[in-house]
C-alpha cells in the first residue's frame, strides 16, 4: 500500500496571537483507488465548499483540511446527530506521485483528488524488434 493514512486521531496545535489552542478535527470517510495512471482519493466532507478547502503537500505528506461553511438555521436545535468539527486527514504519498500534477475538485461535499504518477514510473510496454 503506497498511500498511507497517518494519525487517525487528529489534534492540531494552532497559535492564535499569544494563545495556543487545540483544534479537534473529524476524519472524513475516504476511499482510495489505484489506477494505472495513479491514485484517486474521494473524501466526504458535507458542508464544505471550494473556499473551505485547504490541500497541501509538504515533505511527502498530503494534508486535506476542510472547513465547514457556517450554516445558520432558524430556531433552536431540538435533535442533533452531526458534529460541527472541521475535517482533516493526512496521507503519506507514494514517491512515484508527481505532486505538481495533483488536481482537486469538490462537488456536493465530495472532494475528489487525482494524484497522477510521474511519467517515468508509469508502466510501459516495450516491444521487441
Amino acid at each position: 500500500m503506497n498511500i498511507i493514512p497517518k494519525r487517525q486521531s487528529e489534534t492540531d496545535h494552532r497559535t492564535r496571537g499569544e494563545q495556543s489552542r487545540q483544534v479537534q478535527y473529524l476524519a472524513p470517510m475516504v476511499d482510495v483507488q489505484s489506477t494505472e495512471e495513479g491514485y484517486v482519493i474521494r473524501a466526504e466532507m458535507p458542508g464544505v465548499d471550494k473556499a473551505g478547502l485547504e490541500i497541501t503537500v509538504e515533505n511527502g505528506e498530503l494534508t486535506i483540511l476542510g472547513h465547514r461553511r457556517n450554516l445558520q438555521h432558524p430556531g433552536e436545535l431540538i435533535h442533533r446527530e452531526s458534529t460541527r468539527q472541521d475535517f482533516r486527514r493526512v496521507y503519506e504519498l507514494d514517491p512515484a506521485i508527481d505532486a505538481s500534477k495533483i488536481s482537486a475538485r469538490v462537488d456536493q461535499g465530495l472532494l475528489t483528488l487525482v494524484l497522477p504518477k510521474a511519467e517515468r514510473v508509469k508502466p510501459r510496454k516495450i516491444s521487441v524488434d
Binding site: I3, S9, P46, E76, L77, S82, L110
Partner: protein
C-alpha cells in the same frame, strides 16, 4: 421528545440478527464517540449508511438538515406522511469496476431515515434544497400547531 431515531427494519438481503448486530454496532459507536469526542468515525463494517440528521425548530417552522455528500439531486427522495418525514435515496459508486481499491470507508446504495415531527406541518409548503452535500428541508408548521398568543383584557 417525539422525534425517534430511525430503526432499520430487516432488509430482505440481511438476516434479522445481522440487522440487530448492526444496530448494536451503531450504539457502540455512539458510546465511543461520546468518550473520544468523535475524532475517529467508525469504519462501519457492519452498519449500513445512516446519514446524520439535525432538526431545528422555531415558532413557524421545522428545519431538517441531513448530511448526504456526493449525491445527485435526482437521487434524493423526500416524502411526508402525516407528521412523519422520510428522507431516502441511493448513491452509486463513481469507480469503474476494473480499478483497484485499497481503502474503502464510504457507503453506497440505499439509505432511509424517517422522523416524526413534534407537531403538524403544512404539507403544501414544504421546501427542500441541496447544497455542498447538505440537504435542508423546511417544513412550515400547520396553522393550528403554531403557538398563539391570547390577549386577556382585565376588566
Amino acid at each position: 421528545m417525539n422525534i425517534i431515531r430511525y430503526q432499520r427494519y430487516p432488509h430482505p438481503d440481511f438476516p434479522v440478527a445481522w440487522d440487530r448486530l448492526a444496530n448494536m454496532h451503531e450504539e457502540l459507536d455512539r458510546v465511543f464517540e461520546s468518550t473520544f469526542g468523535s475524532t475517529v468515525r467508525s469504519l462501519g463494517t457492519l452498519s449500513r449508511w445512516t446519514p446524520a440528521v439535525d432538526v431545528y425548530q422555531d415558532k413557524d417552522q421545522f428545519t431538517v438538515v441531513a448530511e448526504v455528500p456526493g449525491m445527485k439531486k435526482e437521487g434524493l427522495e423526500i416524502s411526508l406522511n402525516g407528521d412523519t418525514l422520510t428522507i431516502s435515496g441511493e448513491r452509486k459508486s463513481e469507480e469503474k469496476e476494473d480499478d483497484q481499491r485499497f481503502r474503502t470507508e464510504r457507503f453506497f446504495g440505499r439509505f432511509q431515515r424517517s422522523l416524526t415531527l413534534p407537531s403538524a406541518v403544512n404539507p403544501e409548503k414544504v421546501k427542500a434544497s441541496y447544497k455542498d452535500g447538505v440537504l435542508e428541508v423546511v417544513l412550515p408548521k400547520a396553522e393550528e400547531a403554531k403557538p398563539k398568543q391570547i390577549e386577556v383584557s382585565l376588566s
